[in-house]
């Protein structure tokens, strides 16, 4: 090891020689090039851990997606009678589980539609306004089309999940979900 070995030349951040540095820096000299190198290397290591965490997250999504594909068919559940709802009438129900709130709407065209009641933005409960042709989320003013469930305006970027219906013998049955998770 020699004094002119570039590996052992310590340069202060302001570039001035050691004699011109404050006393504290003279007494506790830090090898700045080494320090900067180590800090960059360690930050790169931290990013590597972050990269690994993203792969773990992606793996979780893949596993959940595969499990969902192999899930058994959803149950058929009776949710209302056809004479229960007037035109533009709305009824709340839970499907497929008690924790999954949904909303059934009788459109002015006479058709029935049902959607999950959680907004696809931040899961606030949406409020159907069939007379205006919209389903509104009061939290962030998201608006969905009442006929299709697609986004009209606001922060949501996915349509509301739609509950498939079967109307027979004066009864309305929920038979499944399409277009996403509740």
């Amino acid at each position: 090891m020699s004094a002119d070995d570039p590996e052992h030349v310590t340069v202060a951040p302001d570039g001035r020689p050691l004699e011109e540095q404050p006393v504290w820096r003279q007494e506790f000299p830090i090898d700045w090039p080494q320090s900067e190198y180590v800090s960059r290397r360690e930050f790169t290591r931290l990013l590597l851990v972050t990269s690994f965490a993203f792969v773990v997250g992606q793996t979780y999504i893949v596993v959940s997606s595969l499990l969902r594909q192999h899930q058994s068919a959803l149950p058929v559940a009776e949710i209302a009678a056809t004479n229960e709802l007037p035109i533009n009438g709305v009824k709340l129900f839970a499907y497929p589980a008690a924790k999954d709130p949904c909303v059934l709407i009788h459109l002015s065209s006479g058709e029935y539609v049902a959607y999950g009641q959680k907004c696809t933005h931040l899961s606030c409960p949406v409020i159907p306004q069939p007379e205006k042709g919209i389903i509104q989320c009061p939290c962030h003013e998201g608006k969905f089309n009442v006929t299709t469930g697609s986004v009209i305006s606001g922060p949501p970027n996915r349509p509301l999940p739609r509950i498939t219906l079967d109307v027979r013998d004066g009864r309305i049955y929920a038979t499944g979900i399409e277009g996403g998770l509740l």
């Binding site: 590996e7 960059r40 990013l47 993203f54 792969v55 999504i61 893949v62």
Partner: protein, 74 residues
Amino acid sequence: MKRSRFVYSQRTTIALGILCIVLVIVVVQLWLFMATMEAFLGGNAAIPIPAWIASIVCLLLNLGLFYYLRNLDR
């Protein structure tokens, strides 16, 4: 002790370059993750597996770069 072929100032420059590349790759992974989550919640089953493979490729790239960085000290 075996010396590195680069002095610290040179290694710092190399580390900074690698750090920038790794940072860009991690941002790509973040974008992939958000897009996959959005597709999954929207009921799209075609996206998660290709995105997962892409994310693994990104991790392998990062591992390779970090391996090179570690070898600078040897």
